[in-house]
Amino acid sequence: MDPSGVFPTSYRADRRVVRTRWQALALLLFLAVMLAAPHLAGGRIIAVLNLMLISAVIAVGLQICTGYAGQINLGQAAFMGVGAYTAAILASRFGLTFLLTIPLSGVAAALFGFLFGLTAARIKGFYLALTTIAAQFIFHFAVLNLPGSWLGGSNGITVPPAELFGFRFVTETSQFYLNLIVAGVMIAGAFGIIRSRFGRAFVAVRDDDVAAGIMGINVAATKANAFLIGAFYAGVGGALWAYMIRFVAVDQFTLFHSIFFVAMIIVGGMGSIVGALIGVFVIRIIQEIIATVGPNIADSVSFLGGDIVFAGMNVILGGIIALFMIVEPKGLMHRWNILKSSYRIWPFPY
């Protein structure tokens, strides 16, 4: 969203991701800080950053599916779970290297997601969201009820650490660099996808699917693709999660986790990759604060018991979703864009 008078004069300029020198500088500075982060900050912060990087991959996938293609997806945690279980099984039973398991997890999750996206051929509107809820339940059922020797049942699966040429990613710092590289590749890829014809088709379908169909876009295939890509991102994020926690169990991937991811893209702003990253940052910080402060409150108000953290998180995140939908449905990114265009044209009003 540029102010009037600011416009690209060539296709190359229009397609550019980094548009100004200041943006390039900010990007370089951000990358430098990220690369140096393990040397600047202590253990707890690195653990949170790790979680943020993994969530960023998953939330960017959800942003493509929901923010760009307009398909409500309440199964992102199930898709993440499929990726995490794939990575866990490939790594622990077949001893594959993480260079293979991470992409394969993405593919497995993408296939699972595509299966549910396929219903798009018949269903329109948010009915499609209901199939993603079915995905969530079917994933749980499959893990808990298939023979324990297949998926570990309710015991979960222990995952060996990622290993490359004898180097084992066991410390949080080494995992941080692994997550940073994968997240960097995935986010750069997301910028590529949304600027391609697929990305433009997503936006067209989101804005009006009937009109998009008349313009020659295959609407059903586009919706199924949106699920495929969104689930691929979730699968890759799930694989990273498996390598970080080194243990996967079904209760790490519930409907609530899916809703947390939805909260991230709503807070950051629908239809913006950077918005998804901001959303991840804000929501994870809030969760971290609640997780830190919660137990202290629980001590002083004893009758609430230990569930106050979970309850408080639900109240605050649910409140945030509702608040943002009511007050600023376009998210923080939109606020920032308004601010940016107003200082660019200062002192004129428009």
Binding site: T119, G305, M313, G318
Partner: protein
Amino acid sequence: MVYFINDVITGALIGLLYALVAMGFVVIYRASKVFNFAQGELVIIGGFIVWFTTLELGLNLWLSIPLSLVLAGVVGYLIERIFLTRLIGESVFSMVMVTIGLLILLRGVVLLLFGPAVRPFPIIFPLKPLFLGDMLIPMNLLIGGILTIVAAVGLSWFFNRTRSGLRMTAVAEDHVVASSMGISVKGSIAFAWILGAVLSTIGAMIFLSGKSLTFLASEIGFAALPVALLAGLESIGGLILAGIIIGVIQSLTTNYLDPYVGGSLGSVVPYVIMLAILLIRPTGLFGWRTIERV
């Protein structure tokens, strides 16, 4: 054979209970075009209200049940006033997203107010099952099933035959068109949420009567989802048939297939049916077929 018939009857009655909870979905959809993801949370809120008036305040059942229904209506109205009224004129997408937020918000509020403890739920319907020859039929489900059928017939008549019901149907078609015809979208949505909350409370009474109450009871909201979709989201009368179909299939799967697969196949079968319906006949058995214009 007797066992088989007994399973079919019990399944059909459980299906009618699902239909009652699904009626909450459908009523809200029929009067506002909003798909309420937080239906299960309305059920537990209803459950806690009944628990509060009956066991905490110690009121007589004849007094506490009407009071609970009124309180549930107030809660439904408040939810509508605080969250949904402000979104009239925004896209339906925003409203649906708000109900997703409500899903976790309401659950958190219930946990904060009442804690995670398991509570006894008052015995509202007689615990003694009805014996028919060798068959035994749970009394709460039987009374619940009759209530469901009465409610479905009544609401179906209201939405299809009365003037105010048809107004709400117009709101479900299109908010902008409805309000330009002089129909109050606000009033319609408020009515829908009050009715949705009241129906959920009745559902909670039947479901939980004589059992224990925790926030896990909200699972029934999602269990009712396949019933709503099989009937078609717009059809109230169709819920009875859809509920019976899903309930019977689930009961038979639980009793005859689960021993072989060694798991809770019965709990996932409704979702498989739901996926199949969405693929074969997305409008459900009795839903509206809409024609779209650009």
